[in-house]
């Protein structure tokens, strides 16, 4: 008998819901069989904790006396530039933003020790941040200069808004060249010296709901230690990526745009991140509950690391030149074993996404549902799925003449 989200929520309210993590469900289904497991288990929690570059936050800092219109002017938080294209006192900070005087890659590889991701972490941690701004002044907003400390507790809306998070699967990065390269996938040693991957595999949200049957617009989630929501499909959402017979994409596919109140989040689950030679970013903790509505949905959540494959891509040439071609396909089980085989060579692996932290998030979310009566949501609208025909298009450049 299929269940409804409403029925599951009634059980949650009575404290009777059976909630397990996407790791625990594997053994449960093996032991009890899919049919029984689908009857007994109400919710499976999934999670991920990794660097997610398309992340940022918008803040309303409140009006100064006399008033200033930052829109069209310039503003900085701890010397990191913020975007001022919204009205008078709404500012937007992106995880990749860097101080104007950061040397970047002038001496390669650049250090990138502080940027937008770190500003967001410090804001969430309750630290005072230095706001400096200049504006052109108008009759209604006469002020031209502002320098002050700000603190999250004194601000109005503080919203984490990440246009692309929780990638459904990702590349495994290697380096075929004979020099060290510094990428967003980490430091890659020459001649297949290491292979870096970035997914929680069997715990990862969209790998447990490959066709987005339960995760959709409006889904309530764990975001950065607080409560957030899926706002839209993420940018570069590519549901038509090739899939294995179990529905799991073999390469980067779906993505999520997520948002939530920064004031309720914690620096433990939003971490300013430094990729040497590449830039700064934000590591985001995301947990998503999957309501077990029927056997099909349960079957998706039983996906194991050995059933999930990723493509090995050369980041010295194929990736930067946007050339097609994978050096092969490996499973997350192989990746987690510490060694994969690429072009006949054993290559040691490392991950950018923390499986240990993802597991912690899946457990926290489980407790929220069981103890704090965190209720599940019916998606307001589904995300475009494999049948949508939606693909991720490259840029068509046209000469300016």
């Amino acid at each position: 008998m299929p269940k409804t989200i409403r029925e599951i929520n009634e059980k949650i309210k009575r404290g009777e819901a059976v909630v397990v993590t996407a790791e625990e469900i594997i053994d449960i289904a093996e032991e009890k069989g899919v049919k029984k497991a689908a009857q007994e288990v109400d919710v499976v929690t999934t999670a991920t904790f990794g660097p997610m570059c398309s992340s940022g936050a918008y803040l309303n800092i409140g009006h100064s006396k006399p008033r200033i219109k930052l829109g069209g002017g310039r503003a900085y938080l701890n010397d990191v530039p913020v975007y001022t294209g919204f009205a008078a006192v709404d500012i937007l900070i992106g995880a990749n933003a860097l101080p104007d005087d950061d040397p970047r890659n002038k001496i390669h590889p650049g250090e990138f020790s502080y940027g937008g991701g770190h500003v967001i972490e410090e804001l969430v941690a309750g630290k005072d941040l230095k706001l400096t701004a200049t504006a052109y002044g108008t009759d209604c907003y006469p002020r031209k200069k502002l320098e002050t400390w700000i603190n999250i507790k004194d601000l109005n809306e503080t919203v984490l808004f990440n246009p692309r998070n929780a990638y459904q699967n990702y590349n495994v990065a290697v380096n075929l060249s004979d020099r060290v390269i510094y990428t967003y996938m980490g430091i890659l040693k020459p001649k297949l010296g290491n292979a870096n991957y970035c997914s929680a595999g069997q715990l990862s949200p969209l790998l447990n709901d490959p066709y987005y049957k339960t995760i959709g617009i409006g889904t309530r989630i764990f975001l950065g230690g607080g409560v957030g929501y899926v706002a839209w499909q993420g940018t570069q959402h590519n549901p038509t990526a090739p899939r294995t017979p179990n529905g799991v994409p073999r390469a980067g596919a779906g993505t999520l745009a997520v948002m939530g109140d920064l004031k309720k989040m914690s620096p433990e689950w939003l971490k300013g991140t430094t990729m040497t030679g590449y830039g700064t970013t934000l590591t985001v903790g995301i947990g998503i509950p999957i309501p077990i509505l029927d056997e099909e949905i349960l079957t998706y959540t039983t996906v194991k690391d050995e059933d999930i494959y990723a493509q090995v891509i050369d980041y010295s040439l194929a990736y930067p030149e946007f050339e097609p071609g994978s050096l092969g396909e490996v499973s997350y089980r192989e990746l987690k074993s510490g060694r994969i085989l690429v072009q006949g060579k054993e290559v040691p692996t490392g991950s950018l996404s923390s499986y240990a932290r993802a597991k912690e998030i899946a457990d926290i979310l489980k407790n929220w549902i069981k103890r704090d009566k965190f209720l599940l949501t019916e998606p307001v609208q589904s995300l475009p799925s494999a049948d949508s025909g939606l693909t991720f298009k490259p840029l068509k450049e046209r000469p300016l003449e």
Binding site: F49, G50, P51, P109, E111, S113, G186, I187, K189, G193, N194, A195, N196, K271, T273, T274, M275, T276, G277, T281, T283, K336, S337, G338, P348, T349, G350, S351, L352, S353, S354, Y355, A356, R357, K359
Partner: protein, 135 residues
């Protein structure tokens, strides 16, 4: 023959003295300089591997201490910050000595000071500044 890795910190006034020369010449020690940093007007730091007879090694160390050089065994100078480590594992294939250890059942990372040679390769590789070489 004994060998150890130490970090020498010496005050500004000693910067111009040929300390390693004396260690080699007067105490018959083998000195291999791993890293050096001299800050003008401040202090100098030298990471060395030093080897020789137990007695000579002891005498050499005493000579340094008498001069006012601070001697630290190397592991004290390299810190892995548990509270900053997210256990991502991206440093694992970078470390040449398996000083950063991964428990593959739990996917939890730990640090074995004794195995660390202070090469510093993990420092730029860690996205969370969880490894510090105080050099």
């Amino acid at each position: 023959m004994q060998k150890k890795k130490v970090v020498l910190t010496f005050p500004y006034k000693l910067i111009n003295q040929p300390i390693t020369y004396h260690l080699i010449k007067d105490y018959d020690l083998k000195v291999n300089i791993l890293r050096a940093r001299i800050n003008p007007r401040e202090e100098g730091r030298l990471m060395i591997e030093i080897g020789g007879e137990e007695k000579s090694l002891e005498k050499g160390m005493n000579y340094l201490k008498e001069l006012g050089v601070e001697v630290q065994s190397l592991a004290q100078d390299i810190r892995w910050l548990d509270e900053k480590c997210t256990h991502c594992t991206v440093c694992i294939p970078i470390c040449p000595t398996e000083a950063i250890i991964l428990d593959r059942n739990q996917m939890i990372v730990s640090f074995d000071k004794d195995k660390c040679i202070g090469c510093g390769l993990c420092v730029p590789a860690c996205p969370y500044k969880a490894v510090e070489i105080l050099f």
